[in-house]
């Protein structure tokens, strides 16, 4: 609000998000009243979590750049912490993990400064080279490759990928007259979440053939295709109001978010299967962990960012 007046389309977007959540809450209250025998506690809990996510998201975009970057950096911190708590780590790497954590404030500081060059190479190059060196100074070679591999993959997914969300907020607002500085991020997050919901609903209604039975037995071909189609449609409808995308570009962006969201989802599922947990934590009640909420965004955030960045910035 300090940067400039909120663009009209952004006000509408928040109004729609609020209305959708109210609708969801009312529907679930109605269900509880009309069918007292059923247990809707999980649904109720999920909707409550959606309110929480929407609240955090609003706090992240509506104040100033410092608050936005700090909130999104904290989200990265929570995701990385959850990842490290799930994977096996070596006792010898205690101090290496400290340096890995320290990369989070640095990465988000580059975002805050708007230093694109360093933002884009800091974790893939410098942290990638630094952490193995720190491990070698400790000198434990048993399990070295596994330790450094899992650590860096986690940083890429939870810090590098997710920090693209924050960078969208510092891109020049003039390039996006319709949506202002926060239009792109709202577009990305709303579409990614709607894509998850659409894939779930299409799959529940028409899904028969499983798309990847070993990794994620609930995912079906119908859910995948229906979800992508829905997301493309939503992208075409929302893009003129929130983004600088042309008609063709918004069609491609919708497909990119649909496919990327699916791949991100099953990637985190594969991680959980490998580690033998079904739910990556219990931070958000009724929703599993924070990684489960961010799984699709770990793919859609960098993919959508670079798509838009290449075409328009």
């Amino acid at each position: 609000m300090s940067r400039q007046a909120l663009p009209f389309s952004v006000q509408i977007a928040f109004f729609v998000i609020g209305a959708l959540l109210c609708l969801a809450s009312l529907t679930s209250i109605g269900l509880v009243k009309s069918k007292p025998g059923h247990d809707y506690s999980e649904l109720r809990q999920r909707i409550r979590t959606w309110w929480l996510i929407a609240g955090v998201f609003a706090a992240a975009v509506l104040f100033n750049r410092t608050v936005s970057v700090a909130v999104l950096g904290f989200v990265s911190f929570l995701a990385f912490k959850e990842y490290l708590s799930l994977i096996p780590t070596r006792r010898a790497d205690h101090r290496v993990l400290f340096w890995a954590y320290l990369s989070i404030p640095f990465q988000y500081y580059w975002v805050w400064m708007g230093w694109y060059g360093l933002f884009i190479i800091f974790i893939p190059v410098y942290v990638f080279l630094l952490l193995p060196m720190r491990m070698i100074l400790i000198g434990e070679t048993q399990g070295f490759l596994r330790a450094i591999g899992t650590l860096h993959w986690g940083l890429m997914i939870t810090v590098f990928s997710l920090s693209h969300m924050a960078y969208m907020l510092v891109l020049p607002a003039e390039t996006n007259p319709a949506g202002g500085s926060m239009g792109l991020l709202i577009f990305l997050v709303v579409l990614t979440e709607m894509n998850d919901v659409a894939q779930y609903l299409w799959g529940k209604t028409f899904g028969r053939r499983k798309i990847s039975p070993k990794v994620s037995p609930n995912k079906t071909v119908a859910g995948f295709l229906g979800g992508i189609a829905t997301t493309i449609l939503l992208a075409i409808l929302a893009a003129p109001h929130l983004t600088p995308l042309s008609f063709n570009a918004s069609l491609a962006a919708g497909a990119l978010i649909g496919i990327g969201g699916f791949v991100g989802d099953v990637t985190i599922s594969a991680l959980k299967r490998d580690l033998g947990v079904k739910d990556s934590g219990s931070l958000l009640p009724g929703h599993g962990g924070i990684l489960d909420r961010l799984d699709s965004l770990t793919y859609t955030a960098p993919l959508f960012f670079h798509f838009v960045y290449y075409l328009y910035y």
Partner: protein
């Protein structure tokens, strides 16, 4: 006052935000003393994490029991441990009989305190239990009405293990068990407690985190 500020502004944010803790069966924790909480001991954070599970209004009544030989090593540490953390110091290797060594604990219990004890005696390997020391049995023998609540922590030994001074954030799981009561014999009581702790430990290693994906 200093103590409440320490718990409200340092310990709670540290344990609840920097680390993050998930408690199962929190309702087994007592709302008032006298009571004894026992937990596995892997880190200096254990006592602080346990303290943070209590609401601020109860915290003045909750005291971790700690070894005087370790915490009275220097003046500052002694002042900090006694006045800010609020420990009850005990002598780990008492020269005379056990009764004298335990008297600070029985006094605290008589005043309605909730005390936190680590019956392993020292910080061990992460998430592994060593043999429980008998002092607890003697204490409960003297105050048989006091309930004993077992707690198993998973993850703190990774955050700040023995010998490290840098804290690494990890999510922590805490499993609170059904309160135990004195059953007439020290051996029976200690065996029951060991069994209960092992149960909680097994629960911790096969965490039931199942919803959907």
């Amino acid at each position: 006052m200093l103590r409440l500020l320490f718990y409200a502004l340092v310990v709670k944010p540290l344990v609840l935000i920097v680390l993050g803790i998930h408690v199962r069966n929190r309702s087994f924790l007592p709302n008032s003393g006298p009571a004894v909480i026992v937990a596995n001991h892997n880190s200096h954070l254990d006592a602080l994490a346990l303290m943070s599970l209590f609401p601020l209004r109860i915290i003045p009544k909750v005291h971790p029991v700690a070894a005087s030989d370790y915490f009275f090593k220097n003046k500052f540490l002694k002042w900090f441990a006694l006045n800010v953390v609020g420990i009850i110091p005990i002598d780990r290797k008492p020269a005379q009989t056990n009764r004298n060594a335990l008297s600070p604990l029985t006094e605290a219990l008589d005043q309605g305190s909730i005390i936190i004890l680590f019956p392993e005696g020292t910080r061990g390997q992460p998430e592994k239990m060593s043999k429980l020391k008998n002092g607890l049995g003697h204490l409960i023998c003297e105050r048989p009405i006091v309930p004993v609540i077992p707690v198993f922590f998973y993850g703190l030994g990774k955050s700040l293990p023995k010998g490290e001074c840098i804290l690494i954030p990890f999510f922590i799981d805490a499993f609170v068990g059904v309160p135990l009561h004195w059953e007439g014999s020290r051996q029976v009581f200690m065996q029951k407690l060991t069994e209960r702790m092992t149960e909680l430990q097994n629960k911790a290693s096969t965490t039931d985190r199942i919803i959907d994906d």
